[in-house]
């Protein structure tokens, strides 16, 4: 059984290329480009890992999704991605239960390494 991964980002390019990369490595990948879709997919598929863009549609609703995920299924590993280094948001995310806050830009290799680290 392969790991289920959900990628949430409002950039279609990001979703597409990350999905391709991970699928080649036999992960089961789901994508979502906004908050409602993200929660819908999450509830339906219960992925083990979520890559979550912090700023969707220019607000910080990523934290809302994180909160919701942690409420529904606390053992989900959530990586938050942020375009800027913002210590305040980083602290909030860690308190809410994010595994790590990653800073964009980031390579596919690094992202896959994070998955491996989390499930070794």
């Amino acid at each position: 059984m392969s790991l289920k991964i959900l990628i949430v980002d409002d950039e279609v390019d990001v979703l597409e290329f990350q999905r391709c990369y991970l699928q080649r490595r036999k992960y089961q990948v789901f994508t979502a480009f906004n908050t409602p879709k993200a929660l819908e997919v999450f509830n339906k598929e219960s992925p083990s890992i979520v890559f979550l863009d912090l700023r969707l549609e220019t607000d910080t609703r990523g934290l809302e999704i994180l909160e919701e995920i942690k409420k529904t299924k606390p053992d989900t590993v959530v990586f938050l991605l942020n375009g800027i280094i913002d210590k305040e948001i980083q602290d909030k995310a860690l308190v809410l239960g994010a595994k790590e806050v990653l800073h964009k830009p980031i390579t596919n290799e690094v992202l896959e390494n994070k998955i491996k680290e989390a499930f070794l």
Partner: protein, 529 residues
């Protein structure tokens, strides 16, 4: 005098000694009058003179008529008329002569009154003080004048004025604890220099006037006037008049100090606001740019990854070389996007003025340094023996600021040092440096110590070093000694220097090409609570 004479009147005869107390007291009175200007002696003598002359006529003419011409009846009438007119004549004559005598004084009294009225119009403190010194010294015609203005616990000399060729021999500052200042504060009115002559730290002057300015009970400063060029002494009228000027001056000083302070606050507020809005803008911009870099990086790393799954063996050598070219290009794209992101983050680091405030706390610099070294160890593969630490074991060096920012700054300096070592090794290999490969023993020495109230970190390497030209430009943004295609954004040292500056610290660099580089950071120790 009568008081010293009464013993005789009561019948206690001391003669010939009895008149001695009378003479002594007369002497004392005269001395005090002259010494402390209790009476303007010229005015007193003039008044007495006029009085004597007028009454010489008032009484003299009737007696002359009576004795010489035996006209006693006429003399009586003349006496009545003259005695009635006498006081009027005396008053008229007195006013006329005093006008002549005091003409000079009246002139500057009037001018001082006008000056007092204009003081509140001058907003700039320095201009105000200068105006007062110049106007007053010209009006009163003094040999010299200056202002002492309160600053912390002392008064500083300002705007000295002297007539040509005179050297002003006055202290540059006077402490609030000195006996002169204590005397001025207790008197709260203009002080004649003569009053201070007995004080050890008094001004070394023969004559002069000190005009203090108070606001509520606070001494703002005083105007010191030297002797008048005419040689005339300061009179109590002068003192009164200057008292009024002093009050006006106090208000004007307070006014202008308040305005200057307010302008300063406004300027900082404005600058802060501008920086804050720049920070917000930079934040938004960074986010957008990083998202673009992220999309590029996702695409390029995914594209590259495809090669791991393609079987290239059936392809011709020519096709393989094309594939290789594509792979190379994708690598370049990835690296550039990655570096672009780092550049943007570096930029953001110093355009966020409130970051330091948000992260500020008191921490041990030692801990930040150790964490920075640890970070370098994780990030880079190198011989651990290279780094040689001299860090005091026991003492902690507490500083106040952002732990993360300082840790980043130290990390970058050590990271740079490692680059410099690698570059030197390369230069030796390429025979750019005339040194045998075996003779180069790479070293980074990290020292930490306390110097007075500063915590100092010195990071020294024996790497490639910098030429004089490179050294001069080292803190300029976007200047880099590293080929940009290899590494570095050119923002590193600029950002580091900004971080240290923001912590009220200093950064010094010494370097010689082929010799190595050393950076010395000094940061003020946090004040003990």
């Amino acid at each position: 005098m009568a008081s010293s004479d009464f013993v005789i009147n009561y019948g206690f005869g001391f003669y010939p000694l009895g008149f001695i107390p009378a003479i002594i007291s007369l002497g004392i009175f005269t001395y005090t009058i002259l010494k402390y200007h209790l009476l303007d002696i010229r005015i007193a003598l003039t008044r007495a003179g006029i009085f004597i002359i007028v009454y010489l006529f008032v009484l003299g003419i009737p007696f002359l008529l009576g004795y010489k011409y035996d006209q006693w009846k006429l003399a009586t009438w003349v006496t009545v008329v003259l005695a009635s007119a006498g006081p009027f004549i005396y008053l008229v004559l007195k006013r006329q002569t005093e006008n002549i005598l005091l003409k000079e004084q009246r002139r500057y009294q009037e001018a001082l009154r006008r000056l007092s009225a204009t003081l509140s119009l001058v907003k700039d403190l320095e201009r105000l003080l200068k105006l007062v010194v110049l106007k007053v010294s010209r009006l009163v015609r003094v040999e010299f004048a200056c202002i002492y203005l309160a600053h912390d616990n002392k008064l500083l000399q300002k705007h000295p004025y002297t007539i040509k060729g005179l050297f002003l021999d006055l202290p540059k500052e006077v402490s609030f604890d000195s006996s002169i200042i204590r005397y001025i504060i207790s008197k709260r009115a203009p002080v004649f220099i003569e009053e201070l002559s007995s004080m050890a730290d008094g001004f070394n002057l023969t004559s002069g006037l000190i005009i203090p300015s108070f606001v509520r009970n606070r001494l703002l400063g005083f105007l010191l006037l030297g002797p008048k060029t005419s040689g005339a002494l300061y009179t109590p009228e002068d003192a009164n008049l200057f008292g009024i000027l002093a009050n006006q001056l106090a208000l004007a000083i307070e006014n202008s100090q308040f305005l200057t302070e307010q302008e300063k606050t406004q300027a900082t507020l404005f600058a802060k606001e501008r920086m804050a809005s720049l920070g917000t803008m930079a934040g938004g911009m960074t986010h957008q740019i990083n998202n673009r870099f992220h999309a590029i990086l996702m695409a390029s790393t995914d594209a590259l990854d495809n090669f791991n799954f393609i079987d290239l063996s059936p392809l011709s050598e020519e096709s393989k070389s094309y594939i290789e070219q594509i792979r190379y290009a994708l690598n370049r794209i990835s690296e550039n996007a990655d570096r672009g992101g780092r550049l943007v983050n570096d930029f953001l680091n110093f355009s966020q003025p409130d970051r330091l405030q948000r992260e500020a706390k008191v921490f041990d610099l030692k801990e930040a340094l150790q964490r920075a070294i640890e970070m370098v160890r994780i990030k880079r593969a190198f011989d651990q023996e290279i780094i040689e630490k001299t860090i005091p074991e026991q003492t902690s060096l507490k500083i106040s600021g952002s732990f993360v920012m300082i840790q980043d700054a130290l990390f970058n300096l050590i990271d740079n040092a490692l680059d410099a070592l690698e570059k030197k090794a390369q230069a030796i290999k390429d025979k750019e440096l005339t040194l045998a490969e075996g003779d180069f023993k790479a070293r980074i020495m990290i020292k930490m110590y306390q110097k007075d109230s500063l915590a100092v970190v010195k990071i020294q390497d024996n790497g490639i070093g910098m030429t004089k030209e490179q050294l001069d430009k080292v803190f300029i943004p976007f200047f880099t000694t590293k080929a940009t295609s290899v590494k570095g954004t050119g923002l590193g040292l600029f950002v580091i220097s900004k971080i240290i500056e923001a912590h009220n610290g200093g950064i010094e660099v010494e370097s010689g090409y082929g010799q190595g580089t050393s950076f010395t950071l000094s940061l003020p120790l946090a004040k003990e609570e």
